[in-house]
């Protein structure tokens, strides 16, 4: 697969919280009985007074975070992506988004690569649910380095924000220098290319890089864009991709409805650009339990299918 060094983005989240906790005395962390998995336990150990175990009561956790934010705190609330969004949608809508509170929801275990736990734990609609809320900023970081930086952006910029990472270890794509100028809503070009663009987010950025390498061997030049911010979406970059290359592939571990692919399609249509677009994602179905790699293969979400789709775009 890859010879890159691996690091779990969840650990990067925990580390970032500990660093930020030192810098920002108003930063508080809430978790719903999953602190060992979300890695908020790292903050809990360092700053026990500023860590709030909320038990298996996610709705209360979100509204409580909003109450804390109303007193000037910077609350990070964490749990798995399924429970951090769908289960508490109304709480986020009213108390966080509509109320425009400075609440940061950081979710882990997003997507099908959660694997064996099955549909109950495979969140494929969170980006859509959060993206549709006014005032909400939405992130899906791709590796541990970027995750850490995005946690900093969340803590140090005001407003309701949501971020999701996967469960699994992830290859390190960036070093600190690559990432130092990262901005909310500004996509990163990971690989340059002129024939087509693969716009990927989160766990799909690494397979996109691998697809780029495979395509190169066939003399196909694929640009790889890391769309770490799903909202506000980087329209300028999308328009450039649409205008300067022969087509776009979007890739996300999420439903093809409402997430990155939808945001890219909307941008293309809104700007009346004629181009080819293939949206890779889960095609409006519930998946199943299984090994992450097997699931990604079964649902056509890996570099192999990115390569196939790239060739399709160029053939048409």
């Amino acid at each position: 697969m890859t010879d890159k060094e691996m690091k779990n983005p969840r650990n990067a989240y925990g580390e970032a919280l500990v660093e930020l906790g030192k810098k920002h005395k108003n930063l508080v962390v809430l978790d719903a009985d999953l602190s060992k998995s979300t890695k908020t336990i790292m903050f809990a150990k360092q700053y026990p007074k500023r860590f709030f175990e909320m038990g298996i009561a996610e709705a209360n956790m979100i509204s409580t975070a909003a109450g804390m934010a109303s007193c000037g705190k910077i609350p990070f609330a964490s749990t798995f992506a399924v429970f951090a969004t769908g289960r508490v949608y109304d709480q986020i809508r009213m108390d966080v988004a509509y109320s425009n509170k400075n609440v940061k929801i950081f979710a882990t275990h997003g997507g099908i690569s959660v694997g064996k736990d099955g549909v109950s734990h495979q969140m494929l609609e969170d980006l859509a649910l959060m993206r549709v809320l006014p005032n909400m900023t939405v992130f899906a970081p791709s590796d541990a380095t970027q995750t850490k930086k995005i946690v900093y952006l969340m803590a140090e910029n005001k407003g309701p924000m949501y971020a999701r990472v996967g469960r699994a270890n992830a290859p390190i794509i960036y070093n600190d220098k690559d990432i130092k100028d990262i901005k909310i809503g500004k996509a990163m070009t990971v690989k340059d290319g002129s024939d087509l663009c693969i716009i990927a987010t989160g766990t799909m950025v690494e397979p996109a890089i691998q697809a780029h390498n495979k395509l190169k061997k066939q003399n196909i030049s694929a640009r790889v864009i890391d769309m770490h911010t799903i909202k506000p979406i980087d329209k300028e970059t999308i328009i450039k991709c649409a205008k300067n290359t022969n087509g776009i592939i979007t890739a996300e571990e999420h439903s093809i409805i409402g997430g990155l692919g939808a945001a890219v399609a909307e941008t293309i249509v809104d700007n009346q650009i004629s181009t080819k677009l293939i949206r890779m994602g889960i095609k409006d179905i519930f998946c199943e339990s299984g090994e992450p790699a097997d699931l990604l293969e079964k649902y056509h979400l890996n570099e192999k299918y990115m390569v196939e789709n790239a060739i399709k775009i160029l053939k048409k």
Binding site: P75, Q91, Y98
Partner: protein
């Protein structure tokens, strides 16, 4: 805590009648909204805003202020009238309730109205929000008190019980919650819709201190609020036994006025009744 004089209580009662008149006028002009649950909550709001909370309408964002959260957001007219009477904004605005362009939304919105702490209207959130304010207060070693008013039907929401458990677990004695126990919700009597009794035992079993009183007796409400503040170990729940539609004869205990505004004739009768009480109270002052 000093006891209020008879004169002071009379003044508060007068304020309650004036707020009820505002509610009737607002809903009549808006041609929509919730009279029943607004009228039942008036004494609680008067006691909190005029005799209990430390708050400054000129500084609604004072970090040391006491907070009030109206979890039963459909009683927004009662809250708006109270805030206007306190001086958070001009009472003239009340007549624009629910109109496009007016800050007074159908349900409270914290980003729109000074003095509104939380955006409510979707039931079940307020106590959790209060938990957050109370936990932040403890962390910052501030001694503000957090007041929350829940509807009785509202406690059908599961989130209320999540919040009840958390407030108790963290010993949030800086929370004083109240339940507007008027026994009526949209589909009928609470005991027929989804049995709530024993409300007292439920909250007690969740580790709360529970006080049960007549929710229209201002003196009793103020005493209970004082008692709650002195409690050092637990959050307090005050069960306010109230009458839905209180103060307007034909609205009292009438579930049809949960979410239906008065028509012109009803409005005239209501204002006449309330003005008579107002005059009586003024005569005693």
């Amino acid at each position: 805590m000093k006891q209020l004089s008879k004169q002071e209580i009379l003044k508060l009662e007068l304020k309650a009648v004036q707020i009820r008149k505002h509610i009737i006028e607002m809903l009549y002009i808006a041609k929509s909204g919730h009279p029943g649950g607004s009228l039942s909550a008036v004494e609680a709001l008067v006691a909190i805003y005029f005799a209990q909370m430390k708050h400054n309408p000129k500084r609604p964002d004072d970090p040391n202020r006491d907070r009030f959260i109206l979890s039963k957001g459909h009683a927004a007219p009662a809250l708006y009238a109270t805030l206007a009477e306190c001086g958070y904004f001009n009472t003239d605005l009340l007549k624009n309730l629910r109109q496009s362009g007016c800050m007074l939304q159908g349900h409270p919105a914290c980003t729109c109205v000074p003095g509104v702490e939380a955006s409510t209207g979707s039931l079940g959130h307020g106590l959790s929000f209060a938990n957050g304010v109370a936990l932040a207060g403890k962390l910052d070693k501030k001694n503000y008190q957090v007041y929350v008013l829940l509807g009785d039907g509202e406690t059908g929401e599961g989130q209320i019980w999540e919040a009840a458990a958390v407030a108790s677990h963290y010993k949030l004695n800086n929370i004083t919650a109240m339940i507007d126990r008027n026994y009526l919700q949209i589909d009928g009597n609470t005991e027929d819709v989804l049995k709530l009794e024993s409300v007292y035992e439920r909250w007690k079993s969740f580790g709360w201190k529970v006080i049960e009183i007549n929710g229209h007796d201002l003196e009793k409400i103020i005493n209970a609020l004082n008692q709650a503040k002195e409690n050092k170990q637990k959050p307090t729940m005050i069960i306010l036994n109230t009458v839905k539609g209180k103060g307007v004869s034909f609205m009292e205990n009438n579930v049809d006025f949960h979410g239906v505004p008065p028509n012109e004739m009803e409005r005239n009768i209501a204002i006449k009744e309330l003005t008579a009480v107002e005059k009586q109270l003024e005569a005693q002052l």
